[in-house]
Amino acid sequence: MDVTKEQMRHMYRTMVRIRKFESNAQNDFANGKIPGFLHLYLGEEAIATGVCENLNKDDFITSTHRGHGHIIAKGGDMKYMMAELYGKSTGYCKGKGGSMHIADRDLGILGANGIVGAGQDIAVGAGLSCKYRKTQQVCACFFGDGSTNQGTFHEALNMASIWKLPVIFVCENNHFGISMSQSRHQAIKDIADRAAAYGIPGVAVDGNDAMAVYEAANEAIARARKGQGPTLIECKTWRWRGHFEGDPAIYKDPKEQEEWVAREPVKRFREFLEENGVMTADEMDKVDAEVDQEIKDAVQFAEESPLPKPEDVGKDVYTDFDEEVRVR
């Protein structure tokens, strides 16, 4: 594998950025600073990290309701993310989207998405665009295990397959769709096996191992860039929290939870980096501290940012005119 030390260091930073962003969001939600539905990526950091490390700035991703990790890994700016979570006018979506709709066209982030399964066929469109315009771009499409039972999964994989589109379908199998365990929502063990239905490669990897994810994505992306079409990568992982904040997740088996938390991705990656002499504990601690500061700055930015103005509610429906606003 051709991963450089620099990339691995970058991956470490990415994972820590996700972890700390999410932990902070968890607190902010508990303290009532973040409204709405909040779905955290805690425990799944290795996936976005491993995949996005392979992507260029002009590559695309589609994301889900649980999107913060993807956005951070693709280079999203925490300041604007935080401001969006807070509903501020400086947020990525000017406070119109919130946690479930963060997007950044300049970074190729085609949006978090509140509709389960919606990202899959948007990714097909992005892939079509890359192929049609004959660029070397690709689109990585993140989605959960639960979403693989939506019709969109099926239609998207089929269409990407016949058109040999440069799309990497990344299934984050955290073993639950809200309260429904994978073993109850489908009668197969490896979601990767579904690739055969479309005549495309399917691989299952340890989603808590950033290097394993990196490797699988690297191969899939190389295939895609060569015009050989899509790949389905299943990353096995675990959702640490409830489905959304506020869900006590009583349906989880505490033993399983414990086992998965023991295999936690950030610590594992730290150990890997240390063992392989890529980074020392001190260097990593330094990164941690820098990220702490980044979060602090982002929170401050968000807190100090103004709320949207009510009269802005009618803007951005269309590109060329504003909608009427009620005057009170």
């Binding site: 119109k96 389960v116 909608e323």
Partner: protein
């Protein structure tokens, strides 16, 4: 007489019929042990077991398709679509099949099925989790559409919906779940009968769903300013109680309609059109619609509050109409 919340009333109606009729069952995403995304079916899994309170995969199309197929073959399913927003995924099953089947098949197949789903803004859930799309459903021949407000109405109308032999879409508003009220009857309330929630003589405010609560507050405020508002809750959107509306308009000669829909193409608009078309001479002034804005539902509270048709918007509309 019993005090109940809207949520409890809905749960009670389902439970009553499930106790009486083994062919009634509930399915949907996370309706089982989890008790539903909002807790509506909490406890029902324990009472009725996994066959009758059944978790589905995330497959809204198949949920409505399964409701259709099972209703056609002897069951009386209640299918829950977690949010109205996700009914988009199942529009084909609901419209091209469930709604039209009885007609396409020359009246020979009946579909006693209820689709329960959840509407409404107000919880900072943004564009894909907050809509109120009842206009889509009321436009479709073959569907009945119910959108009650009070616990008593929710209970009685859900019983009637389960008893009905046609596909019924039953709307619930996520903010309304906590609203409490007295429940004195455990009988079905016939679909198609509206209700006067407050009598008045100067203006008829037609409101349904959560807007009933906002309209009642508005009426209270108006009362203080010497304007007597009647609050008419159609409860069932289709069939619509046109007689009750005609009666009320015949008395007040002024109509304000409020709903949480996007204003353009709203069912409130259909009511406005029908009032103007059929009761033109009874009207002292043009009808006014107090709906949500024609924008996707925004996330930030400031914007969402501007989006939602608030109590004061109703008050203002009534006053503006009298000027």
């Amino acid at each position: 007489m019993k005090t109940m919340s809207v949520m409890e009333a809905i749960r009670e109606a389902m439970s009553i019929r499930m106790r009486e009729d083994p062919n009634v069952l509930l399915f949907g995403e996370d309706v089982g042990k989890f008790g539903g995304c909002f807790g509506v079916s909490a406890g029902m899994f324990d009472e009725f077991g996994p066959e009758r309170v059944r978790d589905t995969p995330i497959s809204e199309g198949a949920i409505i398709g399964a409701a259709t197929g099972s209703a056609a073959t002897g069951l009386r399913p209640i299918a829950e679509i977690m949010m109205d927003d996700f009914i988009t995924v199942a529009m084909d099953q609901l419209v091209n099949n469930a709604a039209f089947m009885h007609y396409m098949f020359g009246g020979k197949i009946e579909l006693p099925m209820v689709v329960r789903t959840v509407n409404g803004a107000g919880v900072n859930a943004a564009a894909q989790h907050s809509k109120s799309m009842e206009a889509w459903l009321t436009h479709v021949p073959g569907l009945k559409v119910v959108y009650p407000s009070t616990p008593q109405d929710c209970l009685g109308l859900l019983l009637a919906s389960i008893d009905d032999n046609n596909p019924v879409v039953f709307f619930e508003h996520k903010i309304a779940y906590g609203e409490k009220g007295e429940v004195s009857s455990f009988d079905p309330i016939p679909l198609g009968k509206g209700d006067i929630k407050k009598e008045g003589s100067d203006v008829t405010i037609i409101a349904y769903g959560y807007q009933v609560f906002r309209a009642l507050k508005a009426a209270e405020q108006l009362e203080k300013e010497g304007i007597s508002a009647e609050v008419l809750d159609p409860r069932t959107l289709y069939p619509l109680d046109k007689d009750l509306i005609a009666e009320s308009v015949g008395k007040t000669h002024n109509v304000v309609i409020t709903s949480e829909e996007f204003k353009r193409g709203s069912y409130a608009g259909e009511i406005s059109a029908f009032v103007a078309e059929e009761m033109f001479d009874s009207l002292d002034a043009p009808c006014r619609r107090v709906c949500a804005l024609n924008t996707p539902v925004p996330f930030s509270a400031v914007l969402e509050n501007a989006f939602i048709p608030q109590t004061e918007d109703i008050v203002n509309a009534v006053k503006a109409q009298r000027e």
